[in-house]
């Protein structure tokens, strides 16, 4: 390690000076922390205090800084030293604000502060300022997969921003679903009448754009590499494959209408006069090409009555069909009903729905349809019975509570069947059971990743993302999904989504070149380093990485693709031989803190509890508990961690061996509704820790000595309560037998 100079600064402001013996803290930093320079300051975060630190960096050659003041979440502008390794000992939110200001509490409070100073010094010494990722790529070309409205929009917007685009479309024409439409819902006021889909315009923009390289009748045969340096093989109809260097990828593979043949009870597949929404668009286009009269497929007679059946095979709680609502179909049926009414008001058009869903200005569109005489009936369609050239639609009229309601002699029935995402292979799907025939969907990206060929999916085949706050963050860095493959959506949203995805892709390739991490640790220059000599090829890191960043080289050793890495540290937590580390976060930076704590002997009646707290939720919750002066035990020592997934069991065993009486782990909610910003981190951490009991047995320790807790950022009351309760329980269990060894 290059020669480092560590300086510790203890702040006396915000009551620290009054509540703590800061002179002792300075001595502790020197004596136990072994820092070369230790100072205290009345008001460290003000201009003068910061100037002092800057001066020490400039003139004293200080490289490592330990700040004993407020939480690492506070005063970030003041204590901003990007060139240096910095650790913060949280003496304010973490000590004086959570302890009573009483004589009897004074000693334990001081103990706490002293330990945090020791820990801070130990941590910073184990850190180095990140040097940056050496294996960056510099390709500035985007790959867009899918030539529908979403894909074309992404391509056009990226080009407008000044980037090269490779656009791959599996069919012979651009346009996708939208290309098959007669008209679309209006996008500007007035929201009254269907308008031209505007696809032709998009197509000509793509065609005329020199930045966009178009492959038709082509698919992605292989995707290799990482953001900034993807190598993509594109297979074309002719059999020839082309190789492209790609910086980032937008997957806009769109959707397929749910197959109406799965709905025989609604007449699906039983009669040519029962069509899905695509079928109706085709009839409308055909009519537009002739006399404008939409005709009955079976015998070409003009349609005089049409019924639209909403939620056909959707919103189905039984699990037989789609569980979700596709969102766009109500407006689509309204639009299609207008095809008839605008052409000939005397055509009877009825929409049968359970909940009509026309958000935003769609409400105007709904009103307009009513004005045009489209009849809306709240009902559940039980059966569509085709006979001869017409059909009978049997339904339960929910308003008139008529279970035997029926529409007779209906010329045409349109089933609104909804969207099924084309998201490729579900790489984490359970293998087909015995006898069950497995129809594997075709891969979209053919990723040459250790973890599989496509972007992981969440529920119902839609690609996984941190659904609410960070919708674009898939589990494959530099690959962004957009359009109905991400969630059901209409054209307006798809275009918006495509534009956003284009930005994320551009951002990814720009940052990949600079070696900067992508969301959520955006800009982090650290990256995992591995001591291959120590590696046992157990493959846990390659299996567990939530982002599929790690492959295996030909010698079966883990092969890190740094620019795929999101810096969560899950690999580090998974590694049984502890050969993986980050410059600013490692088994050592945490381990050193654990060891730095001064463990009183068993007679002192001062138990010690180690808390490993997720820095995204648990740690802020503890901070805010402090801001609210919600007190908790002085026996805890808290270490923020990047993610529960990064917790290496060695920390726990080391702590217990060192005589800690208990360990609490605080991570985010896992499972389908996960709240972990690294998607699977907390889940993987939990799985790992569920096995800790065996370790405890070998040490013959009670299983109560380790506790795994789900903590949310709002638990500012609950967490202190849990801590205090646990502290009491440990007293009952008695001190750890390992004390004083």
């Amino acid at each position: 390690m290059a020669d480092i100079k560590v300086a510790a600064y203890i702040c006396k402001g915000c009551g620290l000076g009054e509540r703590l013996d800061t002179d002792t803290l300075v001595k502790i930093a020197q004596k136990d922390g072994k820092v070369q320079l230790a100072k205290s300051h009345d008001f460290l975060c003000n201009a003068d205090g910061v100037a002092m630190i800057k001066n020490d960096i400039a003139n004293e050659g200080v490289t490592h800084i330990m700040i004993g003041a407020c939480s690492r979440r506070a005063k970030t502008e003041a204590f901003f030293f990007p060139e240096n390794a910095v650790a913060r000992a949280n003496l304010r939110e973490g000590v004086i604000w959570i302890r009573p200001d009483t004589e009897e509490a004074r000693e334990t409070t001081q103990d706490m502060a002293e330990d945090y100073v020791r820990m801070g010094c130990a941590e910073v010494k184990a850190m180095t300022a990140p040097g940056g990722n050496p294996n960056t790529g510099s390709s500035k070309t985007l790959l867009v997969v899918g030539g529908g409205v979403t894909g074309m929009t992404a391509a056009i917007e990226a080009s407008k921003t000044g980037y090269q685009v490779v656009l791959v479309e599996k069919t012979g024409t651009l346009g996708g679903w939208a290309g098959k439409l007669y008209k679309r819902m209006p996008v500007h006021e007035p929201y009254k009448t269907p308008v031209d889909p505007g696809v032709a315009d998009l197509v000509s923009q793509v065609m005329g754009d020199s930045n966009i390289k178009l492959y038709l009748n082509a698919t992605v045969a292989k995707t290799d590499g990482a953001p900034g340096r993807f190598v993509v093989e594109i297979a074309t109809e002719s059999g020839a494959t082309h190789t492209e260097d790609i910086g980032a990828i937008v997957q806009a593979s769109g959707f397929t209408l749910y197959d109406m043949n799965k709905l025989p009870e609604l007449g699906g597949g039983k009669s040519t006069n029962v069509v899905d929404q695509a079928g109706l668009e085709a009839l409308a286009l055909e009519a537009a090409g002739k006399d404008g009269v939409i005709r009955r497929p079976s015998d070409g007679q003009p349609v005089k009555s049409v019924v639209f059946v909403q939620c056909a095979g959707q919103c189905d709680p039984t699990g037989k069909h789609l569980a979700y609502c596709s969102g766009f179909c109500c407006n689509t049926s309204i639009k299609q009903a207008m095809y008839f009414k605008d052409a000939n008001p005397s055509i009877d058009t009825t929409v049968i729905y359970t909940d009509l869903r026309t958000p935003g200005n769609g409400e105007d569109f709904y009103r307009s349809a009513q004005e045009k005489g489209v009849v809306f009936t709240k009902g559940k369609v039980a059966e569509v019975v085709p006979s001869g050239a017409t059909s009978t639609v049997k339904f339960h009229d929910l308003i008139l509570d008529d279970t035997n309601a029926a529409m007779l002699d209906v010329d045409l029935v349109v089933l609104a069947t909804g969207q099924v995402p084309n998201s490729g292979v579900d790489i984490f799907a359970a293998p087909a059971a015995e006898g069950e025939v497995e129809v594997k969907p075709i891969s979209i990206l053919n990723l040459n990743y250790r973890q599989g060929s496509d972007v992981p999916q969440l529920k119902q085949g839609f690609t996984d993302s941190h659904f609410i706050c960070f919708p674009y963050e898939t589990r494959r860095t530099g690959i962004y999904t957009a359009g109905p493959v991400r969630r059901p959506m209409d054209m307006v949203q798809a275009r918006e989504d495509a534009t956003g995805a284009a930005l994320k892709a551009i951002q990814a390739l720009e940052n990949a070149e600079l070696g900067r991490a992508a969301h959520p640790r955006s800009g982090d220059l650290s990256f995992p380093k591995v001591r291959l000599e120590g590696c046992t090829q157990c493959k846990r890191c390659t299996v567990e990485c939530p982002f599929g960043a790690i492959d295996e080289d030909e010698k079966r050793f883990p092969l890190f693709n740094e620019s795929r890495c999101r810096r969560c540290g899950t690999c580090m937590g998974a590694c049984p031989v502890r050969v993986i580390s980050f410059e600013n976060y490692s088994v050592n930076t945490v381990g050193a803190q654990i060891k730095a704590v001064d463990i009183p002997d068993e007679f002192s009646e001062k138990p010690r509890i180690l808390i490993l707290a997720c820095e995204n939720d648990a740690y802020p919750a503890l901070d805010m508990a402090g801001m609210n002066r919600n007190e908790y035990s002085a026996f805890v020592r808290i270490i923020p961690i990047r993610c529960l997934g990064s917790v290496n069991t060695i920390w726990v065993t080391d702590a217990l061996n060192a005589g800690y009486d208990g360990v609490m782990m605080m991570g985010c909610k896992s499972g389908d509704e996960y709240q972990c910003h690294f998607v699977k981190g907390s889940e993987l951490g939990r799985v790992r820790m569920s096995k800790i009991d065996d370790t405890l047995k070998t040490l013959n320790l009670e299983s109560e000595r380790v506790r795994d807790l789900e903590v949310a950022i709002t638990d500012i009351k609950r967490v202190p309560e849990m801590i205090n309760k646990y502290a009491e329980e440990l007293v009952a269990i008695g001190p750890s037998p390992f004390k004083g060894f």
Binding site: Y366, Q370, F376, K378, D397, I399, L400
Partner: protein, 210 residues
């Protein structure tokens, strides 16, 4: 063939169209989104339920339930309080539609025969237009005696206290039975109204033809 069957025949199975063309404000019926705020706002619906509240009538019209709609007593319970109108999120003039459907049912002669409000409504109009001004006494008497002499006397007795109070307070004048208030130009009023009916009839016929 009765006016009713003529119309039913004319509009075959499109009752909604019939209502739109033949009923005052009928073309608003299609705009209802079945929120039910009208039904919930109606005082008489809450005192003693309507057979079919407004929003349900609108749905029945769309469902082509002609017979049930035209023969129900429901619309006749309207007190013209206008609560439904001011609360309707689609701004349907519900009060007027109710009156309109009632008037249409009455015109076709299918409205419930002895529905008291139907009777009173007609009575009121005749009373008012006969002389140009309402004669409250004749109006009340007319109403009491609608079910014949005996019932009329009963009704009269029942209302005696009320009537007496009004007489004492000089707010009911027995002399009204003989003559009473009236407009000078009654002839003008009569022919004016006659003309109005002609025009309205021809308009509705035209709509049906067109």
């Amino acid at each position: 063939m009765s006016a009713n069957t003529a119309m039913a025949d004319k509009y075959r199975n499109n009752f909604l169209k019939e209502i739109e063309e033949q009923v005052e404000m009928g073309d608003w019926v299609k705009m209802c989104m079945q929120c039910g705020v009208c039904s919930g706002s109606c005082p008489t619906n809450f005192q003693s339920a309507w057979e079919h509240p407004p929003q349900e009538l609108f749905m029945m019209i769309r469902a082509g339930k002609r017979e049930e709609v035209l023969t129900t007593t429901s619309m006749w319970n309207c007190t013209s309080c206008y609560n439904c109108i001011v609360r309707c999120p689609r701004k349907l003039p519900i009060t007027h539609i109710m009156h309109g459907i009632a008037e249409y049912a009455h015109r076709l002669g299918v409205a419930p025969k002895m529905q008291p409000t139907r009777f009173f409504s007609g009575l009121f109009w005749k009373n008012a237009t006969k002389t140009g001004r309402v004669n409250e006494l004749k109006l009340s008497m007319g109403l009491y005696f609608k079910d014949g002499l005996v019932q009329g006397i009963k009704n009269g007795m029942a209302m005696q206290a009320v009537a007496l109070g009004l007489v004492k307070a000089k707010r009911l004048n027995v002399m009204e039975l003989f003559g009473g208030h009236k407009c000078k130009d009654q002839k003008g009023i009569q022919s004016m109204l006659k003309k109005a009916y002609e025009i309205e009839r021809s308009r509705k016929a035209a709509r049906m033809a067109g």
